[in-house]
């Protein structure tokens, strides 16, 4: 039976960074992922990573931009920590081998990004996330003392009699073996829940497993209603076109050929924060000024060809392979699409949740540095800063703790659960149909614009689907790569996530950041400058409570771009 001081669930940037930090802190570390680590969705982060590293820039400026971007829902103590630590994170990555873009002098060069008052985004062409992920994986291969469990699926978090986390139960995807992993601390780094929406820029693996497992284990989820719609995704398949394109100078036009951002953000134009640009696009589309397929046009041809090939090569390929468009010669049609989970498992600045021994970092966590709206190129930063902090903190704490006693009953319970799923006879719809209905429902009612009636419809649908999901049968009865049974487990996780998103969105009766309520179109600081917390109650529904937003030096102001 594997035992570790620190067990990390998820091996994207947050997980790998946590693993390296915990190992450096002297802990015995296991890192587990349902996919090979380089398949993690951190790969998809194209544009870059923010840091006030340039001597003319200041962390305070970065922090203020982040606070403003969050629509004042971000906790300013956490934002300060992130922005202060950002420069060192960039330098650490550079020293490990990340091939960051250089300026003429051979020093680190930057590009502009949305919502930022300075060009402070460091990048590797438009494969920044991939480049960092691969370099961290190089380090994991080098530090072979970190035990990797690749293609293991965690089904539940284990607690001891005092309610402290004592490990996790996981199924080896390759042979179906269910195993108990004893750990003094568990760090969730399992990513967001974009798959509850369709379309989404998120990969198929982004099913909110960690968020749901923490919620089921009693942890608090925070600001789950804050779901980012990215302004430039492809219609139909939802693929991402990096904000870096606008950072390099690309323009947005409606079908009448108007550069419509002039109306919505006269100063920042296309580089206003994402919620603002997405709402502007959706308004144009809703009011009949979009193209017939519900899109607007992103014109990258204004960027010099050589620069496009050097800095936006991935996007050239996405345009060519997935939209049949040569972005160096013609505009590409885009629309707002589901992209990022600002909410998640509530943590402090060291990644600790309110369950002793349980940490969370990266997209599954809500520290909260993103509040109501995340700035582009702050997500990679979030994963690295808080991944590192969680890993270091967990290593320090667990050095003093005894190894928890293994409790086999947890394994038996999970084995029973899986056996029950596999033994079901098909009596209703397939899991994929339920997932499809969920995705359409969320995209229709819990998207850029929301209202009471639509959200109620969404809640009823999600709860009906939750019941239906309990009957989903599998065709695959085997143990080797039984993706069928994993999909059934993921569907359960997704529905818990979706319920929390909708309940949060119904509760927040104001418009702030990514949450725009057409029935409450104003931000209301008097009543709603607070976090919405959700806990699983006895009857299986989320129980609502509130917590204060931490304000250090920036009082809420009206937000203009």
């Amino acid at each position: 039976m594997p035992q570790h001081d620190v067990l990390i669930i998820g091996a994207g940037l947050a997980g790998q960074r946590a693993a390296l930090a915990a190992a450096e802190g002297g802990a015995s570390v296991g890192i587990m992922s349902k996919v090979h680590p380089v398949r993690s969705h951190s790969n998809a982060a194209q544009g870059g990573i923010n840091a006030a590293l340039n001597p003319e820039d200041t962390w305070e400026s970065h922090a203020f931009d982040t606070v403003k971007g969050s629509d004042y829902l971000g906790d300013q103590d956490a934002i300060e920590v992130m922005c202060r630590e950002a420069p060192q994170q960039i330098l650490d990555l550079e020293h490990l081998g990340v091939t960051f873009h250089r300026n003429e002098e051979g020093r680190l060069g930057t590009r502009a990004f949305g919502g930022a008052s300075a060009a402070r985004t460091y990048y590797v062409a438009d494969i920044t996330g991939q480049a960092i992920l691969h370099v961290l994986y190089e380090q994991l291969m080098k530090h072979s003392e970190v035990r990797r469990y690749e293609e293991w699926f965690v089904t539940s978090l284990m607690r001891d009699e005092n309610g402290r986390i004592s490990g996790a139960v996981a199924r080896n995807i390759r042979d179906g073996r269910v195993e108990l992993f004893v750990a003094k601390a568990v760090i969730l780094a399992s990513g967001g829940n974009g798959q509850i929406y369709n379309p989404t820029t998120n990969a198929l693996i982004c099913t909110g497993d960690g968020i749901a497992m923490a919620y089921r284990a009693g942890a608090t989820l925070m600001d789950m209603e804050m779901v980012q719609y990215h302004p430039t995704t492809l219609a139909g398949n939802g693929l991402l076109i990096t904000e870096g394109a606008r950072g390099e100078g690309a323009h947005l036009y409606n079908a009448k050929g108007e550069r419509f951002m002039e109306k919505y953000a006269p100063n920042k134009m296309e580089l206003a924060s994402r919620d603002v640009v997405s709402r502007a696009e959706q308004t144009e589309i809703n009011e009949g000024r979009g193209f017939p397929d519900g899109t607007v046009a992103l014109d990258i041809t204004v960027v010099p060809r050589k620069r496009i090939h050097e800095a936006l090569r991935e996007i050239v390929m996405v345009g060519r392979d997935f939209a049949g468009v040569d972005i160096t010669r013609e505009p590409i049609r885009v629309k707002p699409g589901n992209h990022y989970t600002m909410g998640g498992v509530k943590t402090d600045i060291d990644g600790q949740t309110d369950i002793p021994g349980l940490y969370a970092a990266g997209e599954c966590a809500c520290v909260s540095v993103h509040g109501g709206n995340r700035l582009g190129a702050n997500s990679l930063l979030d994963t690295l800063v808080f991944g590192r902090r969680a890993g270091a903190h967990a290593a320090e704490i667990t050095a003093q703790l005894p190894m928890p006693k293994p409790d086999r009953s947890w394994v038996e319970a999970e084995e029973r659960k899986i056996r029950e799923i596999v033994s079901r006879e098909r009596s209703g719809r397939r899991g994929a149909e339920i997932k499809a209905e969920l995705g359409k429902t969320m995209d229709k009612y819990a998207a850029v614009f929301r209202d009471e009636e639509g959200l109620q419809t969404a809640l009823e649908t999600v709860r009906r689907l939750k019941e239906e999901a309990k009957t989903v049968a599998t065709d695959d009865k085997g143990t080797v790569f039984n993706q069928d049974v994993l999909a059934a487990l993921e569907l359960g996780f997704m529905l818990d996530n979706a319920e929390c998103v909708v309940v949060g969105a119904l509760e927040r009766k104001e418009s702030r950041g990514a949450q725009f309520r057409t029935d409450y179109p104003e931000r209301n600081d008097e009543e709603w400058l607070k976090h919405i917390n959700l806990n699983l109650s006895e009857d299986g529904t989320p129980e609502i409570s509130y917590s204060d937003v931490t304000i250090t030096q920036w009082q809420p102001e009206e937000r203009r771009y």
Partner: protein
């Protein structure tokens, strides 16, 4: 909506049954992907159909398979185009099977750890800088970072490994993906182990010189990494920059090749072998005892060549020169007159270079 038939290679290790073919009908617009087709089959017909996949955007590298005999990502192969290709071979079904050169675990899933990742680990895949890092960043030429970014663009999908013809013959070959990964460090000015890395890869009998220059990896790579180009650059670094004279005669073989073409315009096959053993020199190969020994061990090859008529005694002695050999010399002179060796990569030359390559890849695939 058009209907397509996917003929999928199935294998269930728990069934005790050999691999078999199963056909699925799917309905999709032609611009959707083969992966969409496989997922539709799985979601509506048989949930046990297994394939690794995640991003559906050619970024995560999970879904490399063989489609109509050609290795590639299922997510960026359009189903309509795959069908047209199948039709051009006289088939009405799109054939989807697991990649080659790696053991199959189940259906379309292969064991990447046993082959691909093992080979990646072989090349010491982490940066080895000299001493402690600077206080700020390493200051390096901007082009060097753009240059190695081409190999950083590798998503480790294994398509090149699955398609590599050398690996088929020598499973121990380090292979295209891992060697491209090696270039990522050799080309990185922050790495301090360049010569050691090159020597190690050149001296390995399954290393740098095991590639037969067949372009298969370049054709199938979905990200334009062009692994073979990176292997050739490793060779140029090893020979021209570090003068590494390896025991596999890679150095000599390359020198012999280049010298012979300069002299004759076409390959003088009868001289290639002896010159390779003599580090490019015909005289040295005939007096150096170790070369003589190696030459003797190649006698069966020589005899086979004579028997099959590939080499005739007459052609071996009097190799004709190209009539316009002076043009070949002119090319050599032009190249030698440059102070620096030009190493172009896709991030620098852009798409026009890529398009030519793509067109070539299509053409050679058809033949």
């Amino acid at each position: 909506m058009p209907e397509y038939t996917l003929k999928i290679r199935r294998f269930d290790p728990e069934s005790g049954r050999a691999a078999y073919w199963e056909s699925f009908q799917v309905e999709l617009p032609p611009e959707r992907s083969v992966l969409d087709g496989v997922l539709q089959a799985r979601d509506t017909q048989d949930g046990s159909l297994s394939i690794r996949c995640s991003c559906q955007a050619a970024i995560c590298g999970s879904c490399a398979v063989r489609i109509n005999g050609r290795t590639g990502l299922a997510c960026n192969t359009k189903i309509g185009e795959a069908f047209e290709r199948a039709k051009s071979f006289g088939h009405d079904e799109i054939v989807v099977e697991p990649m080659g050169n790696m053991p199959v675990i189940k259906d379309l899933i292969v064991d990447m750890d046993a082959v691909h990742w093992k080979k990646v680990k072989r090349v010491v895949p982490w940066l080895l800088p000299a001493g402690d890092p600077p206080e700020r960043e390493y200051v390096v030429p901007p082009e060097s970072m753009i240059d190695v970014t081409q190999t950083m663009a590798c998503i480790h999908c294994g398509a090149c490994v699955g398609a590599c013809l050398s690996l088929e013959v020598d499973p121990e070959f380090i292979g295209p993906a891992a060697l491209a990964k090696a270039y990522r460090f050799v080309g990185d000015p922050r790495d301090a182990a360049t010569e050691d890395r090159l020597r190690d890869l050149a001296e390995d009998p399954h290393g740098l010189y095991d590639c037969t220059h067949c372009f298969a990896c370049v054709e199938v790579c979905p990200k334009g990494v062009a692994p073979m180009d990176q292997i050739m650059r490793l060779r140029r670094r090893a020979t021209a920059d570090y003068g590494i004279k390896d025991r596999n005669n890679g150095y000599g073989h390359e020198k012999a090749f280049v010298d012979l073409i300069e002299r004759y315009g076409t390959l003088h096959e009868a001289q290639l072998l002896p010159r390779s053993y003599g580090q490019g020199s015909l005289i040295r190969s005939q007096i150096d005892p170790s070369s003589l020994k190696q030459l003797a061990s190649s006698l069966p090859t020589v005899i086979n060549g004579l028997k099959s008529g590939k080499v005739s005694p007459k052609a071996a002695l009097w190799h004709h020169k190209l009539p316009d050999q002076k043009h070949v010399r002119r090319i050599y002179k032009e190249i030698h007159s440059k102070d620096e060796r030009l190493e172009l990569n896709l991030y620098i030359v852009g798409e026009s270079g890529g398009e030519t390559e793509g067109a070539m890849a299509e053409g050679s695939q058809e033949s």
